[in-house]
Every structure is written in structure tokens, then in C-alpha cells.
């Protein structure tokens, strides 16, 4: 692990640990949050492997029904509240100040406190495993009346509820701080329409966090009161009210878990195509439309309840085609005419777009109530959201990791191991999640600890279980890559990829206050690319004579930067 605090050599080990834990450097907090999220990712992955073992064949009884219910509840809760969302925020905490040329994040002590509040929520949620009745076990959306104390008694479910409140509180505060950073800390010259694509995706994401996460905190606080004996959610309308509150958070969070990784993949594609992101203005407009729509679609999770206006939510949900279509157009148009290098980060970014597409298209499918009456709560839904969250966001996350790892640590990750990681993850992901569409259509509901031995069901489930094993191998390959790359460092320098944005105009890792030299002029959303293009125009004739092939692919000489 790389230490970013430079002054630790003269102090004791204990105080250096304290220094890392209590640092108000946004890079240290971001790194801590990223590492903590990664630990939760591995934990959630182990839960998934246990579930897949149980489901490998019908009537396995590898774990009890009660344990299985805890596993899927905690797997979903861990991945959503403790891995994907906080990992997206960790990227924001680390990268947004750098991308906008700021020396620090806004309200760093609040960000530090929020990190610890979130982490304590995560730990409290997991402590449920140690209680007599076991961990939370009424699903990650904990519908009432199932989640009340009559139907799900025990301290584990209480710990789950409190854990979610704390985790969401921490994430809400961080969202607010990211928003304040973007509003107040942009370097001179960085107008809103010159912010990098990734920063825009984080801005839109933070807007949704601030707008929707408080509703989750409210819903969970009311649920906790209900569990303590207050009558909050009464009868049919109480059940519907809870679902409305939960999904008013629960759908925007899907986009909070998507936008930052979309931004990461977009940066990776632009940098590796050596061309600025196409259609910036339309992309920004589409992100804002995306965010507005995504806060108006929540009841498409409730088509089968009879308690909502299905046509309205089918309309808003299907309308998401427009902003999503714009993204794909921009991605392809960025590639066309570029000069493309297929680095590992690029493979993951392309994987992100193409696999997320399966999740997105299946999302349009289930936005139709008639189709959703069949698909709802079946394995088609499980397949759909794993294609968005795993085949999408996790691939975007890895694209970002391979891209920014050199910035954070000063060393590149190994390309060979990276490609192996990519290929294994690609195979494992599709082996695991593609068969789920078919099983769902054949009638397999989600969240069942056992399934009937209908023809073909055992085979498809076995294939999924094998795929989960391949995913585990891929993740192990990634961890090996991290260890190898940090042990035998391949020094990256300031700007190993010919980056477009300001984080590549400072040392790797950046100094305590990010920039020691004057910032380059901020002339667009890709200021470093502008510099290179202007330099190329100055010695125009010479540059056009560069022979084809791999010549000229080296890093930009930093002397070019004023």
C-alpha cells in the first residue's frame, strides 16, 4: 500500500496509522474509503459464492434457508451501501479536486467525519452476523410488513436498519461536500462548461445523493420506530408508502452507482483514443435529463402492487432511452477518427459500455408493465441489474483503477495481468448472469434458497455457479496485479497516458496541496490536450512527418507545460 503522508518517518508506527486515519487530505480520505469499500466488495463476493454454491443444483441444502436469506440480504446491502456507492464517492473525493484544479476538497473535516460515519454504519450492519438470530434477512429493500419486529424479530435486523441509516448519512454528507467543492473550488478559468466529463458525472451524481438519500434515512428511521413498536406503516397504504419512500431513494441510487463509472469510462475512452470526448454539451444536457428522469421513475419497481400509476412510470422509464442513447452515440463518435490504444483500462471501458448495454436494453424491456408483470421479482430482474451494476459499474470501476492507479501510487499496473483479469472477468460475468435471463423467463423467482428440478434449471444454475468461480479468479488476478505492481514498481511519471485533464499536470501521487506548479491554462474540458494540440500546431510541419506505427506514442515531455 502506498503511503501518501510524507512526514511519517520520524514518528511511531501507531501515530502514523492515526495520521492516515485522521488525515484531512482528500487524497488520503478517498484512498481510505476506496480501500474500505474494496474490503466490503470482497466480503460481498464471498457471500455471492456461498449463494451460488447453494444454487449449483436443486435441493443442495449447502446452507440453511435462514442463512441463505441472510446471505442475499447482506450481499445486496453490502454491494450497494458499502461497495459501489461509496467506491463512486471515493473516486469523487480523490479525483474531483484534482480535476478542477483545487488544492483541497471543501469542508475536509466533514468529509473525514462522514467517511467514519459511513464505515461505522457498514461495520454495525455486518455485526448482525454475530447475533443469535443472524444478520439482516428481509432483503436489501426490507419491505414492510416483512421487516417489522413481528415478522423479522432479532437484533440483526435492527443492526441492519441502524447500519443503513449511518452509511446513508455518511454518503449524504460526502455528496454535499463534493457538490460544494465543485461549486466553490474550481480553478480560475474552469467555467462549468469546461469541467471534465468525469467531474460532470460526479456533480450530477452528488445532486441525486443530496436529493434522494435523506429520504432513505427517513424511511429507515421510520422502519426502526416501527420495529420498536410504533405503528408507522399501517395496512395496505402503509406498505405502499414504505415502497414509495424506499424507491424514491432506491432508483436514484442506481444512477449514483452508474454515472461516476460512466464518467470514468468516458475519460478512459477519450484519453486512449487521443481525442476529446465527443458531444460534450449534449452529454452534459443528457446527464441532467438522466438525473431528472431517474428521480421520476421509482415506482417502476412497484408495477405489480396495484398502488401506483403504471402508465406514468412506464413513460418516464422508457424516456431514459433518450439520454442513454446520447451516451452511446458520443462513445462511438469519440472512437471514430481517434488513434486508439487498447490498454487494459481501455478494454475495461469498452467492456463497461458494451455490457452495460445488455443491462440498459433489458431495462427498457422491464419498463413496459406488461413485460414486467412476468419479469418482476424473477431472475430476469437479477440478470438485468447485475448487467448494469456488475457488468457495467464494476467494469467502469476497473477501467478507472487501471487508469488512475499510476496517479495514486506512482506505479502502473501490469498490462499482462490486466488483460488476463479482463478476459477472466468478461467470461465469468457472462457465464454467471446471461443464463439468469432464461431462468427468469422460465419462471424462476429471485431470493429462493432452493428451486424445483424442472428440466434445464439445474444445468443453467450450474453454469452460473461455475461463472461465479471464474469471477473470483478474475478478482484474485486483480489483487495479484496490485501486489506485484507495488512490489516491483514500473514508475509512471506525471502523465503516463497523455491525459486530458488537470490531475495529469502534477506529480504522481500529487503533493499535499495537489499542485506545486502553476496550472496550465484551462481552455476547455480537456486542457492538457489543448496544450499538446497547440504545440503540434506551432511545429506543424515537423509533427505531421512522424512516421506511422508506434512512433510518437511516448509520454508528452512535461517541458511543454508552461
Amino acid at each position: 500500500m502506498s503511503a501518501t503522508a510524507p512526514a511519517v518517518t520520524t514518528v511511531s508506527r501507531a501515530s502514523s496509522v492515526f495520521g492516515a486515519a485522521a488525515s484531512t487530505d482528500h487524497k488520503r480520505i478517498g484512498l481510505n474509503m476506496g480501500l474500505a469499500s474494496l474490503v466490503f466488495f470482497l466480503g460481498g463476493g464471498v457471500m455471492a459464492l456461498l449463494m451460488r454454491t447453494q444454487l449449483a443444483q436443486p435441493h443442495m441444502q449447502f446452507v440453511s434457508d435462514a442463512t441463505y436469506n441472510e446471505l442475499f440480504t447482506m450481499h445486496g446491502s453490502t454491494m450497494i451501501f458499502l461497495f459501489v456507492t461509496p467506491m463512486a464517492m471515493a473516486l469523487a473525493i480523490y479525483l474531483v479536486p484534482l480535476q478542477i484544479g483545487a488544492s483541497s476538497i471543501a469542508a475536509p473535516r466533514m468529509v473525514l467525519a462522514a467517511f467514519w460515519i459511513w464505515l461505522s454504519g457498514g461495520i454495525i450492519m455486518q455485526l448482525g452476523w454475530l447475533t443469535q438470530e443472524g444478520a439482516g434477512r428481509s432483503g436489501w429493500f426490507a419491505y414492510v410488513p416483512l421487516s417489522n419486529s413481528a415478522n423479522t424479530p432479532g437484533v440483526g435486523q435492527d443492526l441492519w436498519t441502524v447500519g443503513v441509516i449511518l452509511a446513508a448519512a455518511g454518503l449524504t454528507i460526502i455528496g454535499g461536500c463534493v457538490l460544494a467543492t465543485i461549486a466553490r473550488r474550481r480553478a480560475p478559468g474552469m467555467s462549468v462548461m469546461r469541467m471534465p466529463v468525469f467531474t460532470w458525472t460526479q456533480l450530477v451524481s452528488a445532486l441525486m445523493v443530496v436529493g434522494s438519500f435523506p429520504v432513505l434515512i427517513l424511511a429507515m428511521a421510520l422502519l426502526y420506530a416501527e420495529r420498536l413498536g410504533a405503528h408507522v406503516f399501517i395496512g395496505y397504504s402503509g406498505a405502499i408508502d414504505y415502497q414509495d419512500l424506499f424507491w424514491f431513494f432506491g432508483h436514484p441510487v442506481v444512477y449514483v452507482m452508474f454515472f461516476p463509472f460512466l464518467g470514468a469510462a468516458a475519460e478512459v475512452i477519450a484519453v486512449n483514443a487521443h481525442k476529446r470526448w465527443f458531444g460534450y454539451a449534449a452529454f452534459v444536457a443528457s446527464m441532467l435529463a438522466f438525473a431528472a428522469l431517474s428521480m421520476s421513475v421509482w415506482s417502476h419497481h412497484m408495477f405489480t402492487t396495484g398502488g401506483v400509476t403504471n402508465q406514468y412510470f412506464a413513460f418516464t422509464s422508457t424516456a431514459l432511452v433518450v439520454p442513454a442513447g446520447v451516451e452511446y452515440f458520443d462513445m462511438i463518435a469519440t472512437l471514430i477518427g481517434g488513434s486508439i490504444l487498447l490498454r487494459t483500462s481501455m478494454l475495461f471501458a469498452l467492456g463497461f459500455f458494451l455490457q452495460f448495454l445488455i443491462g440498459g436494453l433489458s431495462g427498457i424491456f422491464i419498463a413496459s408493465p406488461v413485460l414486467d408483470y412476468h419479469a418482476e421479482d424473477s431472475y430476469m430482474i437479477v440478470a438485468h441489474f447485475h448487467y448494469t451494476l456488475f457488468a457495467g459499474s464494476v467494469f467502469g470501476f476497473f477501467a478507472g483503477i487501471y487508469h488512475w492507479f499510476p496517479k495514486v501510487t506512482g506505479a502502473r499496473l501490469r498490462e499482462g495481468l490486466g488483460r488476463l483479469h479482463f478476459v477472466l472477468l468478461l467470461i465469468g460475468t457472462n457465464m454467471t448472469f446471461l443464463p439468469m435471463f432464461f431462468l427468469g423467463n422460465y419462471g424462476m423467482p429471485r431470493r429462493i434458497a432452493d428451486y424445483p428440478s424442472h428440466p434445464g434449471w439445474g444445468t443453467l444454475n450450474l453454469l452460473e455457479t461455475a461463472g461465479a468461480g471464474v469471477i473470483a479468479l478474475a478478482v484474485a488476478t486483480f489483487l495479484v496485479n496490485v501486489v506485484v505492481s507495488l512490489r516491483h514498481r514500473d514508475a509512471a511519471g506525471e502523465d503516463p497516458w497523455l491525459g486530458h485533464t488537470l490531475e495529469w499536470a502534477t506529480s504522481s501521487p500529487p503533493p499535499r496541496h495537489n499542485f506545486e506548479r502553476a496550472l496550465p491554462p484551462i481552455t476547455s474540458y480537456a486542457p492538457l490536450l489543448d496544450l499538446r494540440q497547440r504545440a503540434a500546431d506551432r511545429n506543424g510541419a515537423a509533427m505531421t512527418r512522424v512516421p506511422a506505427g508506434r512512433a510518437g506514442l511516448g509520454p508528452t515531455p512535461q517541458e511543454d507545460a508552461p
Binding site: G279, T318, V321, I336, S339, D377, Y442, P445, G549
Partner: protein, 223 residues
Amino acid sequence: MGLGAPTGLVDTRAEYQHVFDIYVPIAIGVFALIVIATLLAVLVYRRRPPERAARWYEHDRLEGGYALLLVATVAFLLYITFTAEHRVDTVAARERPGLVVNVTGSKWEWHFNYPAYGIDLYSGAVGRQDLVVPTGEAIRFRLTSVDVIHAFWIPQLRYKHDLIPGSVQDSTLTFSRRGVFAGQCAEFCGLLHSDMIFDVRALSPAEFTTWARSQQAAGGGAA
């Protein structure tokens, strides 16, 4: 519309298939188009020196025209969806039912009550009795729950609806052919959720009448 059971009643399976047959080919076509365009772009523009990368990055008319195409796609998909949804939710609800079945969910058992015949059937964690229905008639299922939320799902009909305590909601469904079809609770309802299963046995109307009479003679089914 040429859809539905021969009787003209709304057939949820046919409505699903109708929408499915439009949505899925479009989705597969879009997927193929984007994958091919992306891979082609990568192959064609691979490994050129960075200086050769094009500098254009915007095209207002192209982007605007494309956005209009997307809007038109949304309008088309919604037209298809709303037409089918109207039949499944509204037209079916107006049909005069040939049979009414009260469906009550509880942890972890289905209770099917036939008010016209005084028959009670149970299926779930403690034992399995089939839900017996006639084909070719609209059947009104009156759905409710006594404890937590359950969902009444018959994959063969491509239809499910939630059973929510404190409400009775109607779903009107038609079985167009005879056979035995699996049914299962689709909303997670606690410990033995996966055992909350049943089979539907769809009989011809004459067979159904015979069955119902024999059940009545036997004293209203096992309780």
C-alpha cells in the same frame, strides 16, 4: 386485434408475447449495431500516432437528428406498451368472470377458496393441492394476504400480482389451454419463501364442473 384466446377474452400470455416480439428484436438489433460499430471503430482507428487523431468533437445537426430518432423510438415503444397494458389491466377487469377464486397468501401457504362451490384448497410448505381452473373462461382472482406481502405468479400466463395485507385486489386471467402449470410466490416473504409453490390444473369447462361437484360431495376439500 387478432390476439387472445379464441373466446375473445384477454390472454395475458399472448399480450406479453406480442410486446416481447417487438421489443426483443429491436433490442437485439440495437445491441448488434452498437457492438459492431464500436468494434469496427476500434479496429479501424487502432494504433495510429496520437497526432493523427481527428480534432472534431461536435456536430449539432447530427446529434439533434439522432435525439429526435430516439424520441420517436420512445413514442413507438410506449404506443405498443400502452395498448397491451390497457387490455391486460382495464379490458380484462371489465370481463364477466365465469369463476371467482379468493386467493389468500400467508406464511408460507396459499389458500384458494371457491365461494360459488364452497371449496377450499391449500398449497405450500405443509402440503400441495392443485389450483383447479376451467379453460376458456375469465377467472377473477381476488388477492389478499394475512401477514406479509406475497406475489401470485403463474409464469405460463406471464402474469403476477402482489398480495398485500389490508387490501383485496382483483386480477382477471384466462387459461387458453388445458395442462398443469407451475405457480410460485414471487415476493420474498421470509424463511420458507421458496416452499410457497403450487400447481395450476386447467381443465375443460365440463371436466371442471365434474371436478367441482366431486369436491362438493367430498365436503369442500381438505382443510
